[in-house]
Amino acid sequence: MPVPDRDEPTRVGVVKFASCDGCQLAFLDIGPALLDIGVIYQIVEFGEASSNRSPDGPFDILFVEGSISTDEQAHHIRHLRDRAAVLITIGACATTGGIQALRAWAGNDGGIEGFIDAVYATPEYVDTLATAKPVADYVDVDAELRGCPIDTGQLVELLTATAIGRRPQLPSEAVCVQCKRAGKICVMVSRGEPCLGPIISGGCNALCPGMARGCYGCFGPRESANGLSLADWYGESLGLSDEQVAARFAGFTGWAPEMREVIEAKGGPPGMRADDAADAEGGAA
């Protein structure tokens, strides 16, 4: 990642596509340290925080939230890429497609039109792609911050490292590493609670296992994620059905290739499974 020139203020933008805005709030959650950040970084575009806007940049660093869900967004992200020296995706939607990416399986359940008809009162106003995909499927991405939402600590680390000109410490290790360092008790081993922690990138400091529930994978698969082995254990030892296994993997990062592999192997996400489609056809006949 090119280091912005320290003599000029670093021009930063925060923009969003198909998303809930939660990751943008992580910037505001930084708190008093924002004052320091303001010394080094000049935020020129941040719709969630300020009405003083330069939506066209140019940007030294552009943070992008959300997945690409419409034709217009696909067009716009290519335009913004040209206006940004460094593009960093933030959050599960921008990095993996997010929960909305699950609609890619809609083909088993009446297709995207069926979804739109079921959800919207006036479907004719909705113009959407059949898929919601990560930003990296459309343009080159320089770095990513994961999570749903992203972790403020990781954001500060990224901003700090960039300011100093070093590589940010964003480990690709499992949630388990942070869970164990924090002295938490494994919810899967001690309670039989299905947990995605072993195959998911840390960064959240094992938030969910600390609340006695399994990780649901919002940071997305880590390097060497062995989803199939974990899925086997869910089935054989925790007694989950294939559909239940697929449901665990088909969460906020279900469209990530490592998660998709398991979801496909287990027949697709709940409500969008191949046998659901067969049932629907059977019903029609």
């Binding site: 680390e157 290790e173 360092r181 008790i185 922690g197 072993p198 195959i199 062995n226 082995s229």
Partner: protein, 658 residues
């Protein structure tokens, strides 16, 4: 003066006084307590915080606690091991180690104080004491000492409690670390139904016991306490352990085993095994600074060889695959740790098994990758038929045929079952009453039958080889240590036979064919005096026709026109053929001088002395190490051999008259 003989009795209610005294001394008392559906170690204020009446149940990937239901409901230490080890207190997951200040081009480092609390650990198991002692070697054994560890450990007061209830994942007995507590404590307790039998292990421990003003434990109480460890040991004996004999070498010989791939398919590389391991000590140093880089704090935090970043360098990664990382971990624990620190890096606490999210069992991994015995069908542990030198079992001679002018093969049937379960390289004591018993190696195992190939040297062997089919013969065995075939797993094999040395090697060849995939290239070199002395010539031809073994044959001398093969000593055969010594195991049998020459020649090609195996001959009368005839240096050849590695033999091999 530490009184190591007497034991004090601490009534159940008096344990609170012990805790109170430790606290009075300014110590933070850490012991077992229930939190988040687990028995964890945390600060305890009194016995009310202990998990009284609670026990645990552990299996691969599974941990549960429950109310004690088997009558020991009043006990406070009636569980196996905690989810995390004492490492959390002696070597915390994250500690600040340095602070740096940077002002322009000026630097300053600030000392970080390691002023940790004085702690007392209550309820430390034998396995965990062993783990602390291992950490002492690694982290404080020098030349560089981890200050924070040394500070915490040096201040810690250890109250050990003997383990009464090993779980399904415990294997301390096979690692030699427990279950009985024998050293490394200030006070050791054994918990009985109504109190504790206590003994001091240090001056500090003795002083504390003195301050409690205790009665001596009664002989009944001491007897009951001794029984606790025996029972725990018995419990573990019924479950899977780790066969440690030769483990260090067995494991390192299997670096290319396909077993790693199989485990790598299941392993999540999630690091849980290393995090819960009480001896794993690898760490990262992370630096955190302010936005301007003026103040940087370095922290030491637990790291794991299972993460990708662990072995990353500028140009790539040394351990990209999960199986690489698993191999690194397992071989460190059970092999290279021995070379580095003089012990295994495993104490058998079983945490890595219980807390593996997919239940990978280190005991099974070791069996899978480095089995003690070759995984061959029908090969059972050899059982001597009798230990009495005068008693023999009876078998029937099925057939006798000549191999050469003076070598005969006997086929024996109606055998005791144990005989058929022998291993290649073992021998029998053969007895024809009236003659002295003779040791004869087994030249083939076949369903319910064995072959003995015998050279007629004297009256006994002449009498035996003259027996008619149907005659009975006495035998004992199989006895002795045979060829260690596992040493050749994953390697090339070189077999060298001289003269009558071929028969003891034939069952080895048979076994190799049965599990041919375990070995690399296999070569057999055989030398005899003359073409007429060659044994098993038809079989040699059949082997030579196979493409999974190569055969070289030579004779010392041959009449012109009778022999078209090689002439000369057997070493000439492989002198001409390159052998990759670093990946080869060799098995040699023949006259002692021939074996010595062959071993020297093969050693010259790079085969390590621990992978050169020779079968020695001495006078053997009993075959079971009782009669003393066959002593060679520190060994009885019959019992400790006849097969030895070149390393075991050392200087003895070339000493005349030994």
């Amino acid at each position: 003066m530490i009184d190591l003989t007497t034991r004090a009795w601490i009534a159940r209610e008096d344990l609170d006084r012990l805790i109170a005294l430790l606290r009075e001394d300014g110590r933070k008392v850490v012991g077992p307590t229930v939190r988040d559906s687990a028995i964890v170690y945390d600060e305890v204020g009194s016995t009310a915080d202990l998990p009284t009446g609670i026990t645990d149940e552990q299996a691969p990937g599974r941990y549960r606690i429950s109310k004690d239901s088997d009558g020991s409901a009043g006990k406070s230490f009636d569980f196996a091991s905690s989810p995390t080890s004492w490492k959390s207190f002696t070597f915390p997951s994250k500690v600040p180690i340095a602070k740096a200040l940077r002002d322009g081009d000026r630097l300053a480092y600030e000392e970080v104080s390691h002023d940790s609390p004085r702690m007392a650990f209550l309820g430390v198991r034998a396995c965990d004491i062993a783990a602390m002692e291992i950490h002492d070697d690694v982290l404080a054994g020098g030349p560089y000492i981890d200050e924070d560890y040394a500070d915490r450990r040096g201040k810690a007061f250890i109250v050990a409690v003997g383990c009464a209830r090993p779980s399904g994942t415990c294997f301390c007995a096979s690692m030699g670390t427990g279950p009985e507590v024998s050293s490394g404590f200030d006070i050791a307790l054994v918990e009985l139904d109504d109190g504790y039998v206590a003994k001091a292990g240090s001056e500090a421990g003795q002083k504390l016991l003195d301050r409690l003003g205790l009665e001596e434990a009664s002989s009944v109480q001491m007897h009951a306490a001794a029984g606790i460890g025996v029972e725990a040991r018995a419990r573990m004996a019924e479950q899977l352990g780790v066969a440690t004999e030769g483990l260090r070498d067995r494991l390192m010989a299997q670096l290319e085993s396909t077993g790693w791939d199989e485990i790598g398919e299941r392993c999540l590389a999630c690091t849980n095994c290393t995090m819960v391991c009480p001896t794993c000590f690898c760490t990262d140093v992370t630096q955190t600074s302010d936005l301007f880089g003026t103040e940087t704090v370095s922290e030491r935090q637990w790291a794991s060889c299972f993460t990708l970043d662990f072995a990353r360098v500028a140009h790539g990664n040394f351990r990209p695959e999960v199986k690489d990382r698993y191999r690194q971990w397992l071989t460190h624990k059970f092999s290279t740790w021995v070379d580095q620190f003089g012990s295994y890096g495993c104490v058998g606490c079983g945490r890595c098994i219980t807390w593996c999210p997919v239940g990978i069992d280190v005991r099974k991994s070791l069996q899978q990758v480095a089995p003690v015995k070759p995984p061959m069908a029908g090969t059972l542990k050899p059982v001597p038929v009798s230990a009495n030198p005068g008693s023999y079992s009876i078998a029937t001679v099925g057939d006798v045929w000549p191999e050469t002018k003076n070598v005969y093969t006997l086929l024996l049937k109606d055998l005791p079952e144990a005989v058929c379960c022998g291993t290649p390289g073992q021998f029998l004591m053969l007895d024809l009453p009236g003659f002295s018993a003779v040791p004869i190696s087994i030249s083939r195992y076949r369903e319910g039958e064995i072959f003995l190939t015998i050279r007629t040297e004297g009256a006994t062997t002449r009498a035996i080889t003259s027996l008619e089919p149907g005659s009975q013969i006495g035998l004992r065995g199989p006895v002795g240590k045979g060829w260690p075939l596992a040493e050749a797993f994953g390697r090339d094999v070189v077999i060298v036979a001289g003269g009558i040395g071929l028969p003891p090697l034939r069952p080895l060849v048979d076994e190799i064919f049965k599990s041919r995939g375990h070995f690399g290239r296999v070569r057999l070199f055989y030398g005899a005096r003359t073409p007429k002395d060659l044994l098993f010539t038809e079989e040699l031809k059949a082997w030579a026709a196979r493409d999974d073994i190569s055969i070289g044959v030579t004779v010392d001398r041959a009449k012109v026109g009778t022999w078209s093969g090689a002439v000369g000593v057997v070493t000439h055969l492989f002198d001409r053929e390159p052998i990759d010594g670093s990946h080869t195991t060799a098995y040699i049998c023949g006259p002692e001088r021939m074996m010595s020459a062959v071993a020297n020649s093969l050693a010259g090609q790079g085969i390590l002395p621990e992978r050169l195996f020779l079968s020695m001959e001495r006078q053997m009368q009993c075959g079971i190490g009782l009669c003393g005839h066959c002593q060679m240096g520190k060994n009885f050849v019959c019992k400790d051999g006849p097969v030895f590695s070149r390393r075991e033999l050392g200087e003895m091999l070339d000493v005349e008259g030994l």
